[in-house]
């Protein structure tokens, strides 16, 4: 649980990880279990380790080459993609459900009025959650970019 200079970045990673996990079996299904296992100790939010760039398909090698605190770094884009990984799919599903029900409502095939309202509300909440995660990651990125080297 080191709170060092890079610790803040790790916290964001862990936050994204837990959010995505609850967000419909997000990253827990992938081979990158580091971000979630960091929280297993029951000690709240933890520095679960920097994400292994090898686990990030396609963008490996673009992270900073200098290792900090003995572990390798990663790129924010891939971090964000991973954090939202399961969430975006889930959001897509919720929105298509909502769209289907909207069509049913328009064509008169909707049996339950509340089904559409619930689906649209869930889609709205999922969108807000996804945007909140994205904003947090961008905030963290900007914070790093402002850092004086």
């Amino acid at each position: 649980m080191s709170i060092e200079s890079i610790g803040g970045v790790g916290d964001v990673a862990s936050t994204l990880g837990t959010l995505a996990t609850g967000y419909g079996q997000g990253i827990a299904d992938t081979d990158n279990l580091q971000m979630t296992t960091g929280l297993g100790g029951g000690s709240g939010i933890g520095y679960g380790g920097v994400v292994n760039p090898a686990a990030v398909a396609g963008i490996a090698g673009t992270g900073p080459s200098t290792s900090v605190d003995g572990s390798s770094g990663t790129e924010f884009a891939s971090l964000l993609a991973q954090g939202l990984g399961g969430g975006v799919d889930r959001l897509q599903g919720l929105q298509s459900t909502s769209d289907d029900l909207a069509v049913k409502a328009a064509t008169g095939d909707l049996t339950n009025v509340h089904d559409y309202m619930i689906a649209s509300n869930e889609a709205q909440l999922a969108t807000q959650l996804t945007v909140a995660i994205r904003n947090k990651a961008v905030d963290a990125f900007n914070e790093i970019m402002r850092m004086q080297v």
Binding site: G22, Y23, R90, N112, H114, L125
Partner: protein, 131 residues
């Protein structure tokens, strides 16, 4: 249904109570449906609710129908009356049905309130840390 469970669960409650209101509506609509004494009367419908199979919320386990015996009413002027002047009406008590209707309506509204409140709660959580 994983992150917004409260909304989904309340949604199942809304569905069940909507079906309950449908059943009551059907019963009230048929309360004056007379038939010949030899024919079966309209059978009142009762919704059987049960816990959802996945343990999240509730579901309609089935519809139970009441007696087809009905009640005989002396109405010789009725076109369907038999030789003794009787017709058969369904055995439905209107006050009981109205009571069920109120219960179904209130439960429907209660579940909708749960949806509203949990949505507010989720949105409040998303505002955490935003001054």
């Amino acid at each position: 249904m994983s992150i917004f469970d409260a909304i989904g669960i309340a949604g199942t409650g809304v569905t069940v109570n909507r079906k309950w209101m449908d059943a009551v509506s059907d019963n009230l609509a048929n309360i004056n449906t007379a038939v010949r004494t030899a024919d079966p009367a309209y059978e009142a419908k009762y919704v059987v609710a049960a816990e959802a199979a996945d343990g999240k919320g509730t579901q309609v386990a089935g519809i139970v129908t009441g007696s087809a015996e009905g009640r005989l009413v002396y109405d010789p002027a009725h076109p369907l009356a038999d030789e003794q002047g009787y017709v058969k009406y369904p055995d439905i008590d209107m006050s009981t049905q109205m009571m069920s209707l109120i219960m179904a309506q209130r439960a429907y509204q209660a579940n909708l309130s749960v949806i509203d409140r949990s949505k507010e709660a989720y949105q409040a959580a998303l505002q955490l840390g935003k001054a």
